[in-house]
Subunit: 337 residues, 2 copies
DNA sequence: ATAGGTTGTCGAAGCGCTTCGACAGCGAAA
DNA sequence: TTTCGCTGTCGAAGCGCTTCGACAACCTAT
């Protein structure tokens, strides 16, 4: 393995000079710089990460804690993770992948050992066990998701409240009066991740203003669960003409069931999905949807973190504004006459 | 930050003794060990990762290179990644997440800098650019996937050849004579990842032995693409009664289309999917499927790697035997009489 | 010509750990 | 009793890098 010292010798300068060429923290004559860079090339030198971390107490690594369970939005998680990794590399950081499994211990371990300079947490619960630790430590962190108390924390998330409101507005505008929300699996609510509730709150309060009647039903993914849920909804509110679906794996079953029952989309009923664009465009009906901006969330989180690591950067809650894209699954409410 | 030296002082022993307690590389009296462990507890000591890496030239990190693109099997990739992270932690390793984006440079960077002790590559192409580098370096690595030339490499993958054969056998046994394979998107074939071809080869050669007629059509995911593909298939081979689907995002569209055309599953046509169990059980028909054992692949890869890091462990190709689970989407071929 | 400020380079210290060789203390074998 | 071999502990060296202070060499303003 090639070391700094060898590069220095090869270039006929001191080790510290090579270090300064690499870091740019002191000015170096063009001549020297060039000689050093050439030696680096020729010898194929790569700085040793451990030595660097030890000497500078900076690892240039960002830890990313992803949820262990895969009962929900896996593609979104993956997309966020990849966006985080890509953005981090642009800024010269690598990404350490932690699973939620270890819980708070992972936070202790990483901050304690200097393995990473900062961390990003996904799948944050309203009253997450890891938050007190993050508030104590002086290691920067960013949450993807919104806990109950955000004081002293930096968070990035889609504005789910506005998302719910947006869905209500769109359906109201089209003349729908009775709408149903197909929510996440009950387990998601029990886990208190918050985003499902926020969507619902936003949707309900806007619906109240607009005079919509709302029925909310959680729903496991899959065909069978969706069949039961749909039957219940139509039983209780036969006049329902608008659906908002927040559970990705309930979308296709819902469309199939509606088709089967002879309810045309969008002529008889309208459907809005809250899901990644890819899902919306690949469904059997091109879905009007509010996108979950996974890439943007990942990129944002990293950029906030880098800002903090560089000294500027405040604690702040960034809520990304939702965007509703109209496709082929929503239309005017059927006339009741 | 608490250091080894502070722990040593607190426990009234030398630094090296603390180190030996931690590593267990020399015998320590029960008494001393206990005092040291208590000091570690009380002070909340965590060894500094950088210092450790520098002194021991072991980072205790495994690099995992995931594909950047998300046009294919994202949930599988995620599941593998999580299995890798979980298994690695069990063995005391952390996982560094690299995207395929950097390509061979990432391999150079990681091996050169000692950032990681070993690496796992996913989404390996038949003639992957990264392979020569892996063969040169003495850093252990494991591939998930199978390149054309596996000499000097360790690989883990599902036995896709056997998977194809298994599908053919199951359909033949049920009396089907004309079968169609709905393959991955054309881009997947162009990329030469191999697994799709291997499936097809296995299926074709077994079909020949069993007297099945096979039609193969690649297919982008989604409803529209599937509609076109299905129409072409039924046009060319109206007698087709068996389908093997290897593209996850074509599964649900296919079922919807068949339903729409009045072809009952499994009475009129049988469908086998090659996909994770979760997809198979959540589809609108519970699908007979060959599972993609993502977790097992991830776990296996890590264990191979650890064995290599520990000195035992050979270069070896591990092909996981496929398992076909019969569910509700396959049945006897309709009688032709 | 001299004082003061820049610019470019170097040497040395030190980051926190692992590991090697040394060695004190002790019981077992001679 | 002496010798040998353990066992348990310590001190010191060193891993490869960053960074601080020092200091020539030069330029500019006096």
């Amino acid at each position: 393995m090639v070391t700094l010292a060898e590069v220095a010798q090869h270039a006929g300068v001191s080790a510290s000079t090579v270090s300064y060429v690499l870091s740019g923290k002191r000015s170096i004559s063009a001549n020297t710089r060039q000689r050093v860079e050439q030696s680096i090339q020729e010898l194929g030198y790569h700085p040793n990460a451990g030595a660097r971390a030890l000497a500078s107490s900076r690892s240039n690594i960002i830890a990313l804690m992803v949820p262990l369970r895969t009962d929900m939005y896996v593609p979104v998680m993956m997309e966020i993770a990849i966006a985080v990794a890509t953005t981090a590399r642009i800024h010269g950081y690598d990404v350490l992948l932690l699973t939620g499994e270890e819980g708070p211990d992972a936070v202790r371990r990483v901050t304690g050992s200097g393995l990473a300079d900062a961390m990003i947490l996904m799948d944050v619960e309203l009253d997450d066990e890891r938050l007190p630790l993050l508030r104590e430590t002086d290691q920067p962190s960013v949450l993807i998701g919104l806990p109950a108390d955000t004081s002293g924390l930096t968070c990035v998330d889609l504005d789910f409240g506005a998302t719910g409101a947006l869905c209500a507005e769109h359906l109201a505008m089209l003349g729908h009066r009775d709408i149903a929300v197909i929510g996440e699996a009950p387990a998601v609510y029990e886990r208190h991740t918050g985003f499902a509730e926020r969507t619902l709150d936003g949707l309900r309060s806007r619906s109240r203003e607009l005079g919509l009647r709302v029925l909310h039903r959680p729903c496991e993914g899959g065909y069978d669960a969706m069949a039961v849920t749909l039957a219940r909804i139509l039983d209780e509110r036969p006049a329902t003409t608008g659906f908002v679906v927040q559970n990705e794996s309930a979308v296709e079953p819902l469309l199939a069931l509606l088709r089967q029952q002879g309810r045309a989309v969008p002529e008889d009923v309208s459907v809005i999905a809250i899901c990644p664009d890819q899902v919306a465009t690949q469904a059997s009906v091109r879905l009007t949807s509010v996108a979950i901006p996974a890439q943007e969330m990942g990129r944002h989180a990293v950029e906030q973190l880098i800002a903090k690591l560089d000294g500027h950067g405040e604690d702040e809650v960034v809520l990304i504004a939702p965007e509703l894209t109209v496709r082929a699954s929503t239309g005017p409410a059927p006339s009741t006459s």
